[in-house]
């Protein structure tokens, strides 16, 4: 019985909070091709995504099509996205591809791999300004991942296997 309450309580809390907080991100542009839509953000418009306080766990992965270790771990993020309910865990894949390569590389990649997680493009060339705002320990290399829920924020400048990723997710879930 106790176990039942432990499981149900955060769920109720979540339902209560739902709708109270809406964070609207204003994309600076949208790439659209072959039925794939990718919104573009500069860091100012992207920033609110790092601090949404609605009880949902967000996994934010910084990647690019040219980054081999990023591509290797992408299926694990997809798997997490499909295995956990949308109202509990949201995976957001933040592409750092150059805007000039979105139509030639990113969109064909997304289409070919049938990626279901949300994909956005962070296009802000003044990286020295925004990298430390994502996390002060980040050198700027990718892959890099943030897993956060409300005030609990964990940052990883590394690659993951599925089990490693799920283990880190469970720490904040």
């Amino acid at each position: 019985m106790l176990r039942f309450f432990i499981y149900i309580t955060p769920l109720l809390f979540f339902v209560n909070c739902k709708g109270e907080q809406t964070v609207a991100l204003d994309a600076t542009d949208v790439f659209e091709s072959k039925g794939v839509e990718i919104p573009v953000y500069d860091f100012e418009s992207f920033k609110p995504l790092l601090t949404i306080n609605d009880g949902k766990t967000r996994i934010i992965n910084f990647w690019a099509t040219w980054c081999k270790p990023c591509i290797v771990e992408l299926p694990y993020f997809e798997l997490i996205n499909s295995r956990y309910p949308d109202d509990k865990v949201e995976v957001i894949l933040v592409s750092l591809d150059l805007p000039s390569q979105v139509e030639s590389r990113l969109i064909p990649f997304v289409k070919k791999q049938k990626i279901k997680s949300k994909i956005i493009l962070l296009d802000d060339p003044d990286a020295n300004n925004w990298i430390p705002k994502v996390n002060s320990n980040w050198s700027g290399s990718i892959p890099a991942t943030i897993i956060y829920k409300n005030g609990t924020i964990n940052f990883y400048e590394r690659s993951f296997t599925y089990n490693e990723l799920e283990k880190e997710l469970k720490k904040v879930l």
Binding site: C67, L98, G140, S141, I142
Partner: protein, 208 residues
């Protein structure tokens, strides 16, 4: 009961090894130079098959050491600016020394043969060296490409004076209004303090 003991034992071993892995990766990332450190010399093979060391540059006042490679779009975006830096500063005593730190097994595009092709295509005016065995980049602490170290030659050795990005706009050189490397070298040539000593940039992780 016995199985429980074994399980606890196994869990303990896993916990300890996980901790050990954490420790190793921590000490790995802690390594590398910071401002004021003495950068080590090296002897690496250039695309023209000669071996290059910093000590060979008798007249140099310092160096612009750039960890870069073929496959990374950020490196490619900066190629013309690296060539421009060499043109701007070689005669003044700060030549560019480019080093490819990548493992060509991970990135075939970064093989020594492909380095030769790229250097020829782009007309690199500076040595483009292969960090054969990948021993140099971890000692510098380079994490990605491009990653620049500006060194000043002194009686004590080559001192690290700047670490980071070339400028503040990887997409468009004409829109970069903070030219970190250029400003650093100009300051050193005037005997002044480097205005911005460390910057961060997005780059391609160096693959071991």
């Amino acid at each position: 009961m016995k199985t429980l003991k074994i399980l606890v034992g196994v869990a303990f071993v896993i916990a300890v090894s996980a901790f050990a892995i954490d420790k190793v990766s921590n000490s790995k990332t802690d390594k590398g130079y910071t401002i004021g450190d003495i950068a080590r010399d090296f002897k690496l093979k250039n695309v023209d098959e000669s071996m290059i060391s910093l000590v060979d540059y008798k007249d140099a006042k310092g160096f612009i050491v750039v960890f870069t490679c073929n496959h990374c779009p950020y490196s490619v975006a900066y190629e013309d600016r690296i060539i421009a830096l060499d043109a701007m500063f070689k005669q003044k005593g700060y030549p560019v020394i480019a080093i490819n730190p990548n493992n060509s097994k991970a990135y075939p595009e970064d093989s020594f043969d492909n380095m030769k092709i790229r250097a020829k295509e782009k007309g690199f005016s500076f040595p483009y060296l292969l960090d054969d065995g990948q021993k140099i980049y971890p000692q510098y602490g380079a994490k990605k490409t491009p990653h620049v170290y500006v060194l000043e030659k002194t009686g004590a050795g080559n001192l690290v004076r700047y670490i980071g990005a070339i400028d503040n706009n990887y997409k468009d050189a004409s829109k970069a209004d903070l030219k970190y490397v250029e400003d650093a070298v100009n300051a050193l040539l005037k005997g002044e303090k480097v205005p911005v000593e460390i910057t961060k940039a997005i780059g391609c992780s160096i693959k071991a």
